[in-house]
């Protein structure tokens, strides 16, 4: 067997050692990983730039829309305020008591042999009830009966339009005065009527515990 002498073994060992130098290998790995990371970073940065351009576009859209939205919101709240205020005012207008038709009914109920010389009426918007006092003089052979006729006619007339109508005598007394009506001397009586009603038929007065009973008091 031939003897082989490796005279370069030291050089070979040194070359092998250089090839597997951990620092060198580590540096190579590090450079490789860093390169991968840089590429990844650039890819992410590109994506971020795309998102940024999208954001710029959306912000531009919003800048165009925002003034319109603000003005629409202001207009909406203004319109809502107008609608609500108008609703309340409409309710107030519709809830008013109209005196003219009431006075017309009152005047239609007065016969020629009766004369009204005082009226005091008040409408309470909270309780939705009207109370009135009518003072007058009635003449006739039976002046009290004439007064009662007026009361009944007034009740009938008012009941056609209004609710919970109650017309009661507060005062009914004979007078000594005799008046001449259509050439005939007639005795007179002074009366005072108290009227209570609600504006709409079938609508109870808010303040009333129960409807006033219809009374036909004979005085």
């Amino acid at each position: 067997m031939a003897l082989q002498l490796n005279l370069l073994h030291e050089e070979i060992a040194q070359q092998r050692q250089r090839q597997r130098d951990p620092l060198k290998i580590g540096m190579l790995v590090l450079v490789g990983v860093t390169a991968v990371m840089i590429v990844f970073y650039m890819w992410k940065a590109y994506e971020t730039l795309e998102v940024k351009s999208q954001l710029a576009a959306v912000q531009h859209d919003w800048a165009q829309v925002e003034p319109k939205v603000t003005s629409a919101q202001n207009r909406s709240s203004e319109l809502n305020g107008i609608i609500n205020t108008t609703k309340v005012l409409d309710t107030m207008v519709e809830g008013r008591f109209y005196w003219a038709p009431f006075l017309e009914k009152l005047s239609r109920s007065v016969a020629p042999n009766a004369q009204l010389n005082g009226f005091d009426g008040a409408y309470n918007a909270d309780t939705k009830a009207l109370t009135a006092t009518v003072d007058g003089i009635a003449a006739g052979r039976e002046p009290r009966a004439a007064s009662e006729e007026l009361r009944q006619l007034l009740t009938e007339q008012l009941s056609d339009t209004y609710g919970n109508v109650a017309v009661d005598f507060m005062l009914l007394e004979d007078l000594d005065t005799v008046v001449n009506v259509a050439g005939v001397n007639m005795a007179t009586a002074r009366f005072s009527l108290n009227i209570k009603l609600t504006p709409a038929k079938g609508e109870p007065s808010k303040g009333a515990a129960s409807p006033a009973p219809a009374r036909a008091r004979k005085s």
């Binding site: 130098d21 951990p22 620092l23 580590g26 540096m27 790995v29 590090l30 990983v33 860093t34 990371m37 970073y41 992410k44 940065a45 994506e47 971020t48 998102v51 999208q54 954001l55 959306v58 859209d61 919003w62 829309v65 925002e66 319109k68 939205v69 629409a72 919101q73 207009r75 909406s76 319109l79 107008i82 609608i83 609500n84 205020t85 108008t86 609703k87 309340v88 005012l89 409409d90 107030m92 207008v93 008013r96 008591f97 109209y98 005196w99 003219a100 038709p101 006075l103 005047s107 004369q115 009204l116 010389n117 005082g118 009226f119 005091d120 009426g121 008040a122 409408y123 309470n124 918007a125």
Partner: protein, 189 residues
């Protein structure tokens, strides 16, 4: 020295490489990729937020437009109510207006005075005030007065009469001494 074993120098170099690797990874994630991701996430949130706002704003604009169409009637009525309150203090213009009205209705003697003013409790009427007036008509014929009241109630929707008193004049029973208590709703100017 065996091939499979590392010498001390090599171990030091490996540890150094490991430390370098860890530092590079830390710097990369902390100072580069992390802020980039955070910035992107923040921008995406902002985009989503703005897109939601743009979406809702379209319906908001549409709603306002619909409301404007629906409120045409209310708006015109509101303008009419507002026009019933001229500029200036009501005490300056209401009594002359009342006098002119009753004069046009053939009731010549009119005296109007302010009784009270008060604010409304309703939140919708914060811009409006309630004024109570007493209108004295010392000599009014009943029929003329009735038609004048009817006209007043029809032409002044924000006026309501809360009290009416009439007393026949002793010397001239055809004419009555009339007192009207009127409540008016007037816009604050």
């Amino acid at each position: 020295m065996s091939d499979s074993k590392f010498n001390r120098d090599q171990i030091q170099k490996m540890v150094l490489s490991g430390i370098g690797f860890v530092v590079v990874i830390y710097v990369y994630f902390t100072f580069f990729l992390g802020p980039l991701n955070r910035s992107r996430a923040s921008m995406e949130r902002t985009i989503a937020d703005l897109q939601r706002k743009i979406g809702s704003s379209k319906s908001e604009i549409q709603k306002a437009s619909n409301l404007g169409r629906q409120a045409t009637d209310a708006t015109s009525r509101f303008s009419a109510y507002k026009n019933l309150s001229p500029d200036g203090a009501p005490i300056a213009w209401f009594p002359p207006r009342t006098k002119a009205f009753f004069t046009s209705q053939k009731v010549d003697r009119v005296n109007t005075r302010l009784e009270t003013t008060s604010a409304y409790t309703e939140p919708e009427l914060t811009a409006w005030m309630r004024y109570n007036w007493v209108i004295d008509l010392p000599g009014a014929d009943f029929v003329t007065l009735g038609s004048a009241i009817a006209e007043l109630e029809n032409t002044e929707p924000l006026l309501s009469l809360s009290r009416v008193t009439m007393k026949a004049q002793a010397n001239d029973p055809q004419f009555q001494q009339v007192g009207l208590t009127a409540n008016t709703t007037i816009l604050k100017r």
